[in-house]
Amino acid sequence: MAADLNLEWISLPRSWTYGITRGGRVFFINEEAKSTTWLHPVTGEAVVTGHRRQSTDLPTGWEEAYTFEGARYYINWIDFLFILPESRRFSGSSSICMQACD
């Protein structure tokens, strides 16, 4: 999430547009496929998600975040996964308690 919100991401391929949630998060709309995604169709990155800005050593589409307790984890926006540093994979739709790291 760039501090200055440069708006390059506004340029989108045909049949794509963007929306902004009430909280200010940007998402992308594929009008043809009738789907939505956090990921920009060209760069593959999420824009203005509210999570920690992407560190350079993370693959495209991933972001770093912290739980309420301060444990670090990674979000894979592409596959909808939350991943803890030990590489344990958990379904993104659950909020079951998991082990921490560090």
């Binding site: 501090a3 200055d4 919100l5 708006l7 929306g19 902004i20 949630t21 009430r22 909280g23 200010g24 998060r25 998402f27 992308f28 709309i29 594929n30 009008e31 009738k34 789907s35 939505t36 995604t37 956090w38 203005v48 509210g50 800005r53 739980t67 309420f68 307790e69 444990a71 984890y73 979000i75 909808f80 939350f82 030990e86 958990f90 993104g92 739709s93 659950s94 909020s95 079951i96 308690c97 998991m98 082990q99 921490a100 790291c101």
Partner: protein, 121 residues
């Protein structure tokens, strides 16, 4: 054989629920939808300048309010110093010692509400 702590001894954390983006809806339904009809400009960064009244330690809320600061604003930078990852004590020092404060802020209710959730016990 790795020397990591056995999983049973790790402290427990709760991962937040994954949040999907708003579901696709046809354009004619978007007009009054709270997640679809937002104007980008209200969420763009903006600069607010505040001056401490002579002899004062703090800037009054009314000044900040008059200058355009609102609930939900996120501070991106102060006097050209990045405030997004700054250490708390350093942030305080900058705010305390500066006579004039040029703040780069951005209205971002999503983060604001998440922070609010975190501080509720």
């Amino acid at each position: 054989m790795d020397s990591r702590i056995p999983y049973d001894d790790y402290p427990v954390v709760f991962l937040p629920a994954y949040e999907n983006p708003p579901a696709w809806i046809p354009p004619h339904e978007r007009v009054h939808h709270p997640d679809y009809n937002n104007e980008l400009t209200q969420f763009l960064p903006r600069t607010i300048t505040l001056k401490k009244p002579p002899g004062a330690q703090v800037i009054p809320d009314s000044d900040a309010h008059r200058a355009g600061l609102q609930e939900g604003d996120q501070v991106l930078a102060v006097n050209d110093v990045d405030f997004q990852d700054i250490e708390h004590s350093k942030a305080v020092e900058i705010l305390k010692t500066a006579r004039e404060i040029s703040m780069r802020v951005r209205f971002f209710p999503y983060n604001y509400h998440r922070q609010k959730e975190r501080t509720v016990h």
